[in-house]
């Protein structure tokens, strides 16, 4: 009988007995589905349509566990959300783990359970995966990659090329929760806080929107770089200008206070359970209404619109006092390793 260590050994990634043991005993049992149980080199899937969306994301968040979630939950929600905002219904995920030698099994267990729970809650199957181990010091505990497949919703083709002047910009809820929560729990900065990550899978809500509200031009989830990055991406991709109203942006007071204390801009803070949608002006009200009926969209609101470009396409903020200023794409380092 092979040894049963409490920590990951390099051998667990070696492809031999320990690897098999790890997969069969610890990983597969968490994800009950036909494709995975076969444990073939590739999962065999029969999909309802050949019009699919495919995405991948890697997760390197630090700390691994935070209020409102953990790296496991994040790795499912993040990829689910990328599929969701692209106008598809997520169905299957791959799960790749890169684990540092010495990582505690207990923690791995918690993360795997979290992945399992989150996948179930979001109606996706983990159908294939991979596990590698690396020397101590090479991976900060654990790195995760998930790739995902979603079935395109019929007649749904979101794209920035369809964006027009007059379209409204809708935000599904409060911003900055995830980013500021991570910061509040990072070593060296840590402070006690009621903040919680907003990490959540949005597919149920987005599918409902795409299916019931015509006129949704484009959607994106404002993760790294926050709302500021997403709005700038919209400008870049559509060559249109965006104007948003500072007073309309929902922010929890505790998030704002934490950001003020540290000098961070909430517009640049990551969000893991929110989306930004560009919708035709006629559809805006209905869109907000549908969102607000869903627990993940209760604070949904119109925050701005697409406007005529004056000189160069850019994002302009109408401030609380009625002034104006530009919102730039944030420099990459504002909040290190938050997703």
């Amino acid at each position: 009988m092979a040894t049963n260590p409490e920590r990951i050994l390099l051998a667990h990634g070696g492809g031999g007995r320990l690897t098999n043991q790890l997969i069969r005993e610890r990983i597969v049992p968490k994800f009950k589905n036909e494709a995975l149980s076969e444990l073939a080199d590739s999962a065999h899937l029969t999909l309802a349509s050949s019009d699919i969306c495919f995405t991948t994301d890697s997760y390197v968040v630090k700390p691994l566990f935070f209020r409102g979630g953990d790296i496991g939950k994040l790795s499912v929600c993040g990829t689910v959300n990328d599929l969701a905002v692209a106008g598809s219904r997520p169905v299957a995920l791959s799960l790749s783990l890169i684990i540092e030698e010495g990582f505690e099994f207990d923690l791995l267990e918690r993360i795997l359970q979290s992945i399992s729970d989150t996948a179930q809650r979001n109606h996706v199957d983990i159908v294939t995966g991979d596990t590698k181990t690396v020397e101590h010091g090479s991976a900060d505990g654990i790195f995760i990659n998930t790739a995902g497949i979603g079935i395109r919703l019929p007649n749904v083709h979101p794209g920035l090329d369809t964006v027009e002047v007059g379209d409204k910009i809708i935000l599904s809820g409060t911003i900055g929760d995830h980013g500021m929560t991570i910061i509040s729990q990072r070593e060296g900065i840590g402070f006690e806080s009621p903040l919680e990550s907003d990490c959540a899978g949005l597919a149920e809500l987005t599918c409902s929107l795409f299916e019931s509200v015509p006129g949704i031009r484009f959607m994106r989830d404002p993760t790294r770089g926050g709302l500021a990055a997403t709005l700038n991406e919209i400008v870049e991709g559509s060559s249109r200008s965006v104007q948003i109203d500072e007073r309309a942006i929902p922010i929890r007071p505790a998030v704002q206070a934490a950001a003020d204390m540290l000098g961070f801009d909430v517009l640049n803070a990551a969000n893991e359970g929110k989306f930004v949608a560009v919708v035709s002006s006629g559809a805006a009200q209905e869109c907000v209404r549908v969102c607000r009926e869903h627990p993940l969209g209760r604070d949904a609101t119109v925050i701005g619109e697409i406007v005529t470009t004056r000189d160069v396409p850019l994002v302009e903020l109408r401030t609380k006092i009625g002034g104006r200023r530009v919102v730039q794409m944030p420099y990459g380092r504002e909040l290190p390793r938050i997703c």
Binding site: T319, I321, G322, G323, R325, V326
Partner: protein
């Protein structure tokens, strides 16, 4: 509050109309520069009112020589550099602290206390705290120096880059840029030194000085007060930040600064050598002075080529007048500290202004 903002805006418009000519108000403090931009105040002021940013960004006015000295210490194997985040990306003659991150001996701290704690945790290294900041921040350094001495900790020292605001204002008005009509005075520096400290600027140079906080209402009411004074031909000292600023300031903080530091002549980027404008640790704390400990000289360095941060800091040019602005010098690839610092004038213009 929006009503009060509207009233103050109205007062500014009226006063500027009465004055007739272009007026220039300098906001001394970098935090004011950023607040003004972020709240969009610039876009609601009349065209005849020009707002100038001043030398109130402690990172920006830190001379190149000091930056290079920090780099030199970072390159040593026996040192750990503890610094506020603002300094990490400032380019010296040969890279920045950020580019030395892989060496692992540069740590960002949120307080001087955290820096001292690093020293307790790394007894085999000397922790050098990059002590930059104006009077708002100096007391925090002083408290920690005093505690280091009391505890007998041997592996902690500070590289003092602390500066004083009033001498810089005097240097500006005394010659570098006397085309400033009034000053919006730094709210949090005033918390420490007292609003009364600016009385000498009013008395000796006859310029209105108004102490203000950092919210739009504060800033606009402060600007309104200055404009109204100018329209009436007055030059007075006022404060609109009475919630935290008193005339005398924080005497306990002033005392502890005086206990640990002596004013000395020092080099400011852009303003050159200003008498009694920087702080040096007193003889009794000499062993915690990194300059003395490592035998380093505080001498001015050479600016990076083409960098016109100096003129920006004196309010002599706007960032867009620097040929490097937005082209060779951006927030991603800064050439000078005014673009790097979170409170730098160039960074503020770049991040929040239209560049089309």
């Amino acid at each position: 509050m929006l009503d009060r903002i509207a009233n103050a805006q109205h007062a500014i418009d009226e006063a500027c109309r009465a004055i007739g000519r272009q007026i220039t108000i300098m906001e001394v403090c970098g935090t004011h520069t950023v607040s003004i931009f972020r709240s969009g105040i610039r876009s609601v002021l009349p065209d005849t009112l020009k707002l100038l940013s001043g030398p109130g960004c402690p990172v920006c006015v830190t001379d190149q020589g000091y930056i290079d000295t920090v780099m030199g210490l970072a390159d040593r194997d026996d040192c750990v550099i503890a610094t506020y985040g603002d300094m990490i990306r400032v380019p010296g003659s040969d890279g920045s602290l950020e580019s030395r991150a892989s060496k692992g001996n540069v740590r960002v701290v949120l307080s001087s206390e955290d820096a001292l704690q690093l020293a307790r945790e790394s007894p085999d290294k000397t922790v050098v705290f990059v002590a930059v900041g104006f009077e708002t921040t100096t007391p925090a350094t002083a408290v920690v120096v005093r505690e280091t001495a009391a505890e007998g900790i041997g592996n902690f020292c500070i590289l003092s880059g602390h500066k004083l605001v009033i001498p810089a204002m005097r240097a500006l008005l005394g010659g570098m840029n006397d085309r400033i009509d009034g000053f919006l005075c730094p709210g949090h520096v005033s918390v420490i030194i007292g609003s009364g400290a600016f009385a000498e600027i009013v008395r000796d140079f006859r310029r209105p000085c108004v102490v203000a906080g950092f919210e739009p209402l504060q800033i606009i009411e402060g600007l309104a007060e200055i404009c109204q004074q100018l329209a009436a031909g007055k030059a007075e000292l006022k404060s609109v930040y009475k919630a935290v600023v008193t005339e005398k300031g924080n005497t306990a903080a002033q005392q502890i600064i005086a206990e640990c530091f002596d004013p000395a002549d020092g080099y400011w980027r852009g303003l050159g050598k200003i008498a009694k404008s920087t702080l040096v640790l007193k003889e009794r704390y000499a062993r915690f002075d990194a300059f003395r400990r490592f035998g380093l000289e505080d001498k001015p360095g050479k600016e990076n080529r083409g960098c016109r941060c100096g003129e920006v800091l004196c309010g002599l040019i706007d960032p867009i007048q620097c040929p490097l602005f937005g082209t060779r010098c951006t927030t991603d690839r800064p050439v000078g500290p005014c673009m790097v610092s979170s409170e730098g004038t160039c960074a503020a213009w770049f991040k929040y202004g239209r560049r089309g």
